[in-house]
Amino acid sequence: MYSRSAMSGRSHILKIDVDIKMDDALVDLWIATRKRIAEFLGFRIVDVRYRYTRHGMHFWIYLDKHLDAHTRAMLQFMMGDDHRRCFHNFIRLRLNAFDQFNALFGVKVYEHRG
């Protein structure tokens, strides 16, 4: 059976999509509050990386332990992920395809071919 997963070995990373661009002070505050949320839920954030995109920001939050797909989907929602993305993530989770479809698009298009 072919077993490649988009996130193989990376189940300790949360991918968060935020649709606004924050300045440095707000980013620091945002990360500090995420740390408190993670502590409250029994996890620890060991590293955070972020990039500015065309419409907002992408965050990669590194946790101290590997988690299953359901917990990651729940945590991404708690951490303030784009709610429409969360809605689709929960659908994908129910279809057992969370890892393959939990995407942060490096190159995003909305192009019809019809």
């Binding site: 072919y2 490649r4 988009a6 996130m7 990376r10 990373i13 991918k15 990386r49 972020y50 990039r51 992408h58 965050f59 990669w60 659908i91 994908r92 129910r94 279809l95 057992n96 395809a97 393959q100 479809f101 995407a103 942060l104 698009f105 490096g106 190159v107 995003k108 298009v109 909305y110 192009e111 019809h112 071919r113 019809g114």
Partner: protein, 164 residues
């Protein structure tokens, strides 16, 4: 024509940078961390293309399926990037995603589907064969299925090449 201009893209799995460059005519892919230090050499870059079909809830009462998504994943070596260029690689992977999507749902779904985007990942050692594309599709047929979380999935591995 060889693509020798260096570029940097974001590894969408980890948030690191992936840098492509050529030295003395040889192509290299390296991963760099947030301080832009070279972390490790990569054997492959993974390109994933997403195609999605989605109806509104009102339309879904009349039509099927309500939700369908397909991803195509393929690996590209530094030599492939040099020979074909990233644009061509992305287009080829997206083409396979469309082919699989249409194979499952028919050609008429093209008018209501759209390309969602590409993701890039890093692979240090590819256990899988590089000449293959991994295809995965999920869908729900009805609104009730969607709300109940009852869906179907189909995956396949097919031979693949970046040839023109």
């Amino acid at each position: 024509m060889l693509y020798t201009l260096s570029f940097t893209i974001v590894d969408d799995d980890t948030g690191n940078y992936i840098t492509y460059f050529t030295r003395r005519g040889r192509p290299y892919l390296y991963m760099r961390d947030k301080l832009k230090r070279f972390m490790r050499k990569l054997d492959f870059i993974e390109v994933r293309a997403y195609v999605e079909t989605r109806y509104s809830r009102e339309e879904a009462k009349r039509r099927n399926p309500i939700f369908a998504a397909t991803v195509a994943m393929a690996l590209a070596k530094p030599g492939d990037v040099m020979k074909y260029g990233m644009e061509h690689i992305r287009a080829k992977v997206m083409e396979r995603a469309w082919d699989f999507h249409e194979y499952l749902f028919g050609r008429r779904i093209r008018s209501i589907s759209y390309e969602k985007g590409w993701e890039h990942g890093s692979e240090r050692k590819g256990d899988e064969k590089q000449e293959e594309v991994y295809l995965h599709s999920i869908w729900c047929r009805t609104l009730a299925d969607l709300e109940a979380g009852v869906g179907r999935e189909e995956s396949d591995v097919q031979p693949f090449s970046y040839e023109w």
